[in-house]
């Protein structure tokens, strides 16, 4: 009997089976694709993080420790399984450097001398970058070259503590891209690390280094040390968290093996530590974006299945009349569900493989074989569970109560208990409570293997989404039921004299119509909120890039170079430059705390860069700049400083700034006028913003730290090249493109764009399918009614008037509830996922083109389905009537 039933289903109900399977396929494909995304994103994060590290481990050798000296530590390191290459590097302090060029002698402060072994540059290609000259011989860092006014071929005199200085001929000028980690104090806690890497650095071939420092190492071991620089295998677990644990454990093992003689500066672990927090955010995004999609697909399938319930009841009655028992009927339903879930599962997995291939370049669902199997099985099982929930459970309920409701007149239980209002209220309460407690969505304490996500925060948008969807359903139901008279009036423009009849017909179908409108609304809100979230993310990434770089192009002068503001005029003449603004960069003591101080011209700074309101606290950007311009000695300070020193607006504060005439830090009086959180080129921690003219007059120097160059967003690279040509190595010229790379490396913009494409495509499909399928299948059930109306003399236009109300209502109500819920949900999502944004957005970025496209697609799908059914019914009206 089951075989006959299945054959019959496939022959006679193939369309409906395929439609239900399509709904299941969406859920399965969504989960499997998201699995692909998650796995691919995590693997990319690990890969990007590890690729960017110049030296994986810097092992400080403690010569006096029990484990022995450099040789034994080096041996242990090289014996370690994960070691690809290990080379010893000498570190020595120098009290100063000196060079005489073009008749003038320049002397610097303290610096560092490194002893670089042969093969170092090829082993660690990211550590040293040649700017000019050659790599064979002594090298100086770019800033040192600028300080000493030297270039390749010049001689530098290097001082030594307690020993006479020596001279070296410079072979080349280099950049040390990862100077921060290169000069870290290995083993010291973060707060004890240097604020900035040394300005003065000389790199010597190891033989030269040994010759110059062998004696000093004996007499002043505190002045000379050795580090072993290690390149590790990057064949790590794809998940940054697992990779972090793997690398950290390996470092601990090595430290144990060397009995304390080697202390590991784990640069690889540090970047993985940062990446795992981002990976967790990716997981959070997955939950936010995949879960609603799966719920929608399930609801869609339920709607499809329910739209065929009249047919199913009829068939069941027939089978009952011929002696079938409830158990037999249930078995047939289970068989139908199995066919749907297998079809949907296979279709979904194939679709996910294609999507994975197109979006992430891989047709598998995970980074490894086991991960692929896991996601494939999980997605398939989800399909089975959804089918069971939407096909078997309702059928079982119907079989239990032999006479189900004929017309869709029963009131849903959730409506009776006001579940919509409760969910909305609880969702908003959770949001309010979570916001009040200043929670952190993702908690990844530095160095600690355990990570945590505040899943509690998910509750607010999830409850609000479902609550809003149900409320939309309730309102639609109210308009269709008690508001029938109003509905008739609203339908008059489209239905004319048939508006009352149309309203009456719709009111008797109000459960299914309201449910369709709610489903379309939910699908649209899902599409709108994810699109808005993504485009807000992109907007903020752009803002972050500008905040990091300062402007389209930024020219950073070398420390010590006394570049005057008038140099801006030279830069402004470069083709493609629209505006140039100088920014002073000084250091100022606030009490004992050394902070960056930026001197600007508040009335012209915005010509070259954008200042957003969230950069400031308690006032808008314009108001803050106005306050700064209101008095020469005005200063904007960070919120932390305001708290630490209990400052009130207008308070006088004494800062100590270096006077260029005496080179001494002297007190300068300022007045506190506002709080600044972020500022172009400023660091993340505390800093100060003041009037450049006042700072210049008080310190005797108008030297500029950097010039912000506005190119109007065009020809950025060309302008960069032109300016670099003018400034030579005396200044560092960076662009917003460089900053985008830095910003994107955290929650990688590359992966997020893949996710964006994926989820937007799914949202589009779900919205269109929700509208089209539900309407199409619903109307299909009412073909006979249209046929009867045709027999009663209804013309084409009358039929259109009679049946246009239904799709029109679903479109309008769906669009309205979708737009409102989508907007609200976008707001909640952006607030809840605020940790993803840096800086937080001033406003939501609504991708109108996409929103309009989705709305149009859903509307066209609904109208198309209605038109198709209407045309098909008119054509077949006689056949349908003959069957009556």
């Amino acid at each position: 009997m089951i075989g006959v039933w299945v054959a019959g289903l496939l022959r006679r109900r193939a369309g409906r089976l395929l439609t239900a399977a399509f709904g299941i396929a969406i859920a399965v494909a969504l989960l499997a694709s998201m699995g692909s995304f998650l796995a691919a994103a995590k693997a990319t994060m690990t890969q990007q993080a590890t690729t960017g590290v110049a030296v994986d481990w810097q092992i400080a050798v403690h010569p006096n420790a029990a484990g022995g000296g450099t040789a034994s530590v080096l041996k242990a390191v090289r014996a370690d399984q994960g070691t690809v290459a290990a080379l010893p590097v000498g570190f020595a302090d120098t009290p100063g450097l000196q060079a005489t060029t073009q008749g003038t002698t320049q002397t610097t402060g303290a610096g560092k001398v490194l002893g670089i072994p042969p093969g170092y540059i090829s082993t660690f290609p990211g550590a040293i970058r040649l700017l000019t000259g050659s790599l064979t011989g002594p090298l100086v860092a770019q800033q040192t070259a600028a300080n000493l006014h030297v270039q390749a071929g010049d001689t530098v005199r290097v001082q030594r503590a307690g020993l006479p200085p020596y001279s070296v001929r410079i072979a080349g000028v280099v950049d040390l891209p990862q100077a921060d980690s290169l000069f870290q104090q290995v083993g010291a806690p973060p707060q004890s690390q240097l604020i900035a890497p040394p300005d003065n650095v000389v790199l010597l071939p190891s033989a030269t280094f040994s010759a110059q420092y062998a004696q000093l190492q004996q007499t002043r071991p505190d002045q000379v040390s050795t580090q072993i620089h290690v390149r590790r295998t990057h064949a790590l677990a794809p998940d940054p968290s697992s990779a972090f644990v793997q690398v950290t454990q390996a470092a601990h093992n090595l430290e144990a093996a060397t009995a304390g003689a080697g202390v590991v500066g784990n640069n690889l672990g540090a970047v993985l530590d940062a990446a795992r927090g981002d990976a967790l955010y990716t997981q959070v995004l997955f939950l936010f974006l995949a879960a609603p999609g799966a719920v929608l697909a399930a609801t869609l399938t339920a709607a499809v299945v329910q739209s065929g319930s009249t047919r199913r009841r009829r068939e069941q009655s027939l089978l009952r009349a011929r002696g079938s028992t409830s158990a037999q009927l249930l078995r047939l339903v289970i068989v139908e569900a199995a066919v749907i879930s297998v079809l949907g599962g296979v279709l979904g997995l194939v679709a996910a493989a294609v999507i994975g291939k197109l979006s992430f370049g891989s047709a598998s669902f995970g980074a490894s074989g086991s991960q692929s199997v896991f996601w494939a099985v999980a997605a398939f099982v989800l399909g089975i569970v959804i089918t069971a929930l939407v096909v078997v459970v309702p059928a079982r309920r119907e079989l239990a109560s032999a006479a189900g409701p004929r017309l869709d007149s029963t009131r849903p239980a959730w409506s009776t208990y006001g579940l919509d209002v409760i969910l909305l209220a609880v969702g908003l309460a959770v949001f309010w409570a979570a916001g009040r407690n200043q929670y952190q969505l993702v908690l990844a304490p530095e160095g600690v293997p355990t990570l945590s996500v505040s899943y509690w925060a998910f509750l607010a948008p999830a409850l609000a989404w479902i609550g809003a969807g149900l409320l939309g359903w309730r309102l639609a139901d109210l308009l269709l039921g008690p508001g029938r008279r109003l509905l008739g009036t609203l339908l008059r423009p489209s239905a004319g004299s048939l508006s009352e009849v149309s309203a009456a017909m719709m009111s008797r179908q109000r459960r299914i119509i309201a449910r369709s409108a709610a489903l379309v609304g939910l699908a649209l809100s899902f599409a709108i909120s994810t699109a808005t979230f993504n485009s807000t993310y992109q907007q903020q990434a752009e803002v972050d890039a500008q905040l990091t770089n300062g402007a389209d192009v930024t020219v950073q002068t070398s420390p010590g170079a006394q570049t005057p503001p008038a140099y801006a005029a030279t830069l402004a003449r470069v083709p493609g430059v629209q505006a140039v603004q100088p920014i002073q960069h000084r250091f100022a003591y606030v009490g004992s705390d050394l902070q960056d101080l930026f001197g600007i011209n508040p009335s012209t700074i915005t010509q070259a860069t954008t200042l957003q309101d969230p950069y400031f606290q308690g006032a808008t950007a314009a108001q803050s700049l106005q306050q700064l311009a209101s008095r020469p000695d005005a200063v904007l300070v960070s919120a932390e400083t305001v708290n630490d020193y209990q400052l009130s607006l207008g308070d006088q504060i004494q800062l100590r700034l270096q006077d260029s005439r005496t080179q001494k830090y002297t007190p300068v009086t300022f007045h506190y006028v506002g709080i600044v959180n972020e500022f172009p080129t400023a660091p993340k921690d505390s800093f100060l913003v003041a009037n450049a003219s006042y700072v210049a007059s008080q310190t005797g120097s108008n030297a500029v730290g950097s010039f912000l160059v506005n190119t109007g967003g065009n020809n950025v690279t060309t302008v960069q090249t032109s300016i670099q040509h003018i400034t030579g190595t005396a200044a560092k010229v960076t662009t917003i493109h460089d900053a985008r790379g830095l910003v994107g490396s955290s929650l990688t913009s590359v992966d997020l764009s893949g996710l964006t494409r994926l989820e937007l495509a799914f949202a589009l499909v779900i919205a269109a399918a929700a509208g089209g399928l539900v309407m199409g299948l619903g109307l299909n059930e009412r073909r006979r009614t249209i046929a009867v109306a045709t027999a009663l003399g209804a013309t084409r236009s009358q039929l259109r008037a009679l049946y246009s109300g239904e799709p029109l209502f679903v479109v309008v109500a769906g669009l309205l509830s979708g737009a409102l819920t989508g907007w609200g949900l976008s707001y909640l999502l952006v607030k809840v996922l605020t940790g993803v944004f840096d800086p937080p957005p001033t406003s939501l970025a609504i991708p109108w083109l996409y929103v309009i496209s989705v709305a149009l697609c859903a509307s066209i799908a609904i109208a198309g389905a209605a038109a198709y059914i209407s045309i098909r019914t008119r054509e077949n009206a006689r056949e349908i009537l003959r069957e009556i």
Partner: protein
């Protein structure tokens, strides 16, 4: 205007083709006139329903010609000139009895409120006021057919066609429906054709046609006997 409401000239209707071809109506020629009450009797599958559908222009002959000399316009251009009562449920399930009866009137351009009033009059004529606000699913089979007859009355066709209208009704309800159909035909001064198995109904008609294997023959008054 001629009294001949419809005419069939050598009409055949074949479904399918080749070996699988099924001849439902074969070379039938006949006429129906104003005031005539015709019963079409015959066993299941004999072609009764096909004949009714051809008369209602719900189907087209594969040979011969169907014409409606006494009907202007013809059912081909305006289906409402013929009122059809079907064997099964032919009411719009989402409209009440009263709205169902009013529907053809609204489709003809009568304002909704007036159509509703007229529908109530027709329902009252058949004694159905009490079920005016009920949906078709809430009505018994007999009540549903009576509402369908009320709807035909509202359409005021000159030819009423009924395809086994009592097939799913008990005897009492069936007799009531037939009485109403005859009453409606009288009220409209038109023709009535009923396809039926029921000898009692056939006995109530002035003319009786027998269908057997798609062929039609006229039954003399004395020979009313219907085999199922």
């Amino acid at each position: 205007m001629t009294d001949t409401l419809f005419r069939l000239d050598s009409v055949s209707r074949t479904y399918g083709s080749g070996a699988a071809a099924l001849v439902a109506v074969h070379d039938v020629s006949c006429e129906g006139h104003r005031g005539e009450r015709i019963a079409v009797v015959g066993p299941s599958g004999s072609g009764k329903s096909t004949l009714i559908h051809l008369l209602a222009a719900l189907d087209q002959p594969t040979a011969g010609e169907v014409s409606w000399p006494g009907l202007t316009p013809t059912p081909l251009t305006d289906p409402t000139v013929v009122g059809v009562v079907f064997q099964g449920q032919s009411l719009v399930p989402t409209l009440t009895a009263q709205e169902n009866v009013a529907l053809p009137l609204v489709l003809r351009g009568l304002p909704y409120r007036h159509a509703q009033e007229q529908a109530m009059t027709h329902l009252g004529f058949l004694g159905l006021e009490s079920i005016a606000n009920q949906l078709p699913d809430e009505l018994s089979g007999g009540q549903g057919q009576r509402v369908a007859i009320a709807r035909v009355l509202a359409m005021r066709p000159r030819l009423i066609l009924a395809d086994e209208p009592t097939g799913r009704l008990d005897t009492a309800a069936a007799r009531q429906v037939v009485a109403l159909l005859l009453e409606a035909a009288d009220e409209l001064d038109g023709g009535l054709v009923i396809a039926t198995h029921d000898p009692y109904i056939a006995g109530q008609m002035s003319t009786r046609w027998r269908m057997r294997d798609g062929e039609l023959s006229v039954v003399p008054d004395a020979a009313i006997g219907v085999s199922a």
